[in-house]
Symmetry: C2
Subunit: 333 residues, 2 copies
């Protein structure tokens, strides 16, 4: 659990896109961030107040979150003086970069001396159990995709937000680095050891109130041969009551796999549901989230309407048009 | 790669069953073992010549393999003097126990001093790639199960043996600790980090002669919620041309999961084939291996015959009646 609120460190971000972790926090959990810290030459701005370390500290910030990714995902030497100064002032550090805070000797030394915590959310900090499959109380919805990077995290965050706006009890459950930094906790599923994957998802989504929903961030796809095992561990560890299928209709092939075609929504529905029902016989597919970013307004609307008719399920682009209809579908379930 | 031949260390094994790793080596790769080393009070005997360290060394042994599991799977203090003496004489050590050789300070120290290797086959020693899904040359067959521990390793070893007896080119590819010790190499799949599971299976089963078969040891089951992700990584990383379904018909529920029923052979056929064809559209189910150990001779024969008719596929118990018909089915493919 990372202490909030954060100060978001944008460093010397070369462009806006490189600050997408900070942008995600600002968009989805603005209450988790008091401001942004930008170094000279920083080309990103997530629209929060610019603050110094001292200023943000006075405003209550507890953790300096590295909200920027270099090309290569490493911890830049240019950042070091700021990171070290922050720890001296009482900040913990948090990062989702490949290269770990805990592998930087100077940072480790200062953290030990000052009693600060280095959170590397890319690697697990918990010894997860082996999944027991015991039925848990409360309800769970999982985003499954026809491919990787089709908007599963975005869909889950938008759905969680729409559910809470309706007064439903909902918690977004992060399973990837960005999601973990946004909410302050979660499971970095792609870095969990094989035998404990499903158990880590059970750990992430424990017993809860009967009318509470865990909105579980999906990973990979059952048809993405590099990561399908991770996806199945989510389906079986999450024992979802409901699935949302996420799709990006303009993709020419599976992400990173030029020889692999993107499956149809129907194919993913059938295989996901058949496997989900092993863990929860009542599981249903309740809606479809389409990422229409590469379509015109007209194309998007026509496509959404046609999928809705074909599949007989509420079909939305949660980014473009909101996730309310998906929340409504869950409420009715 | 563990150097062969081995001397099999049975230590102070409390009973025959505790020496099942040594028994597996003796049964499947007798050419890999020059003899067995038993301490006073040892209650196991795998039927090899009893040898001292010096005797086995003279006979060419290169590695002392811990072929016994204590209750709890730890490295007994009682064994230490033998293990240390062995390294002094030039033996490497190999173990599949939970508790690692490399975590025993005294063993690590002696190994460093004598230049010996400590092989802990329970953990990966390779940095595996992420799976690319690129089609590889050669052929692959994978054992998939309706449950865990239904005889997938045994089936794969028996099949490999039957194929070689027919003059087919075949290599057993181990994906678990026992299999790795039997053959001297493989991937400890349950200990691989999630993102690299399918890649580790690609690494294990590289390009080969067009008429060569990799016989891949299966793990878990697509319907075993604790380990299903591992199973799917095998199906997608292995890109099998053929599947053998393994089943144990007397089991009351899934292993370790009292609330979960064992799926039918048909259910596993359908979901396995549908997912396997994502990676290899030509994949076929070619046979069924039934573990009839808890059935009488009559029951077994009746059951095998009825499954054979129902499924329209060669159905055998490879332990009781041999795997020749499965090898024949592959040869025809």
């Amino acid at each position: 659990m990372i202490q909030t609120p954060y100060l978001l460190f944008l460093g010397d971000a070369p462009d806006q896109l490189s600050a997408k972790v900070a942008q995600g926090i600002k968009d989805w959990r603005p209450e988790n961030a008091v401001g942004q810290l930008r170094m000279e030459g920083c080309k990103a701005d997530v629209g929060l107040r610019d603050m110094t370390l001292a200023h943000a500290k006075a405003a209550g910030a507890k953790t300096l979150v590295i909200g920027v990714a270099n090309r290569g995902g490493y911890i830049s030497q240019a950042w070091k003086s700021v990171l070290i100064e922050a720890m001296g002032m009482g900040y913990d550090l948090a990062s989702g970069l490949h290269n770990l805070l805990s592998e930087e000797e100077d940072l480790v030394e200062v953290a030990a001396e000052k009693g600060r915590i280095l959170h590397d959310v890319r690697i697990p900090s918990v010894e997860y159990p082996i999944a027991s499959g015991v039925k848990r109380t409360g309800k769970r919805v999982l985003a499954v995709g026809t491919d990787c990077s089709v908007g599963k995290m975005y869909t889950a965050l938008a759905l969680d937000s729409a559910m809470r706006a309706r007064g439903m009890k909902s918690t977004f459950r992060a399973t990837g680095q960005t999601g973990i930094l946004i909410t302050g906790n979660g499971v970095p599923l792609d870095a969990v050891v094989a035998d404990f994957m499903a158990g880590s998802v059970e750990y992430l989504t424990p017993d809860n109130d009967p009318d509470h929903w865990d909105v579980i961030e999906g990973q990979g796809s059952l048809h993405h041969i590099s990561y399908s095992g991770v996806t199945l561990a989510l389906i079986h560890g999450g024992q979802p009551d409901a699935l949302i299928i996420c799709h990006e209709p303009t993709r020419k092939h599976m992400r990173g796999l030029p020889d692999y075609k993107v499956p149809t929504i129907e194919a993913i529905r059938d295989v996901s549901l058949s496997l989900a029902r092993v863990a929860n016989s009542a599981c249903e597919v309740v809606g479809i989230a389409v990422n229409t970013q590469h379509m015109s307004e007209d194309e998007a609307k026509t496509y959404l309407a046609s999928v809705e008719v074909e599949m007989g399920l509420p079909t939305v682009d949660p980014f473009r048009y909101g996730a309310e209809r998906l929340a409504e579908a869950l409420e009715k379930l």
